[in-house]
Symmetry: C2
Subunit: 190 residues, 2 copies
């Protein structure tokens, strides 16, 4: 998505530790009109795929998931990062390691909200090592749900998580794939 | 908002500890088409108020804030609940006590994202004791921003947080106000 690539070049900041900071439009501050256009791109890519529900993980995945769901007229389920007192009953869980924050956590979804009749679209803002998507795929599998694919805004292609998933047969769509980045600039995969 | 009251009566569950569980449509699972209608109600209430930005707090406030922002064509800034390595530079912080989870946390917004020229609409999913809204009002004050008002989906009126804020002159709009609730049912403020 050309508009996203241009926005990353204009407003993104490369920080030590392979962090691409896009807090001015995609995390913390959300350019919602732009995110609605990203949601429409995702909706277009999954037209006719019989998706019943969008699955994401808190917190920064929620906005893009809502944007896509608004266009597709679907519900969103978001995994929580630690078990809350408001989640009762049976749950699906998966361990996730965050390289950005260098810590492990567990993502949790109530079993009430994903059924084996669901066909899920998994949405997240970032794809780097693929840890979060693998956790969400695990939860979908535990529920016996089908997965139509994974859609993310920004994939850090050089970290390999997306290509590893594709090699395993998972459909992965990224609106922008950063092929290489450093403090002097970044390039995108064509 | 009649549709929200009916939905709470149909799908809400009252749990011990004054918890109203609406995870099937407002937290964890998000009925996005319905949330977009809630967003439109909020947008209608603040038409002509010259709002420049919507402020909320992760995670469950994000979806309603995005819904309102999509209609109002505004950006959203969300406060994080603990300082992340992706937040650099100066920050505004406020302490918040969660009665639901019985713990204290700090909400954090990068100073880059709220300016003293902003006129904010504060949005959250729930209003009980008003702790989260007070934290967000504190952050707005630290930034020197004006606050047009606070809009929430569900106010638990019997916990008094909304009325205390109104008595202090803060505009607070709730799409549904639960006046009383127990495991045998609940009633709304007219």
């Amino acid at each position: 998505m050309r508009e996203l690539e241009e926005r990353i070049l204009r407003d993104g900041k490369v920080l030590p530790g392979n962090i691409l900071k896009v807090g001015s439009f995609l995390n913390q501050q959300l350019d919602v009109p732009f995110m609605m256009r990203m949601g429409r791109e995702i909706a277009d890519a999954y037209r006719g795929q019989d998706v019943t529900k969008i699955l994401t993980v808190e917190a920064s995945g929620i906005a893009l998931a809502v944007a896509a769901a608004a266009v597709m007229e679907l519900p969103v389920v978001f995994a929580k990062k630690n078990k809350s007192s408001n989640v009762s009953g049976d749950v699906y869980t998966a361990p996730v390691h965050s390289y950005t924050h260098n810590k492990d956590f567990t993502i949790v979804v109530s079993a009430d909200y994903i059924k084996n009749t669901d066909r899920l679209l998994i949405v997240d803002d970032f794809l780097a090592n693929g840890e979060a998507l693998r956790g969400l795929l695990s939860i979908a599998g535990q529920a016996g749900a089908e997965v139509a694919g994974c859609a993310v805004a920004i994939e850090k292609g050089f970290q390999g998580g997306g290509d590893a998933l594709r090699a395993e047969g998972v459909r992965v769509d990224s609106l922008a794939i950063v092929e290489q980045m450093s403090d002097t600039g970044l390039t995108f995969r064509n």
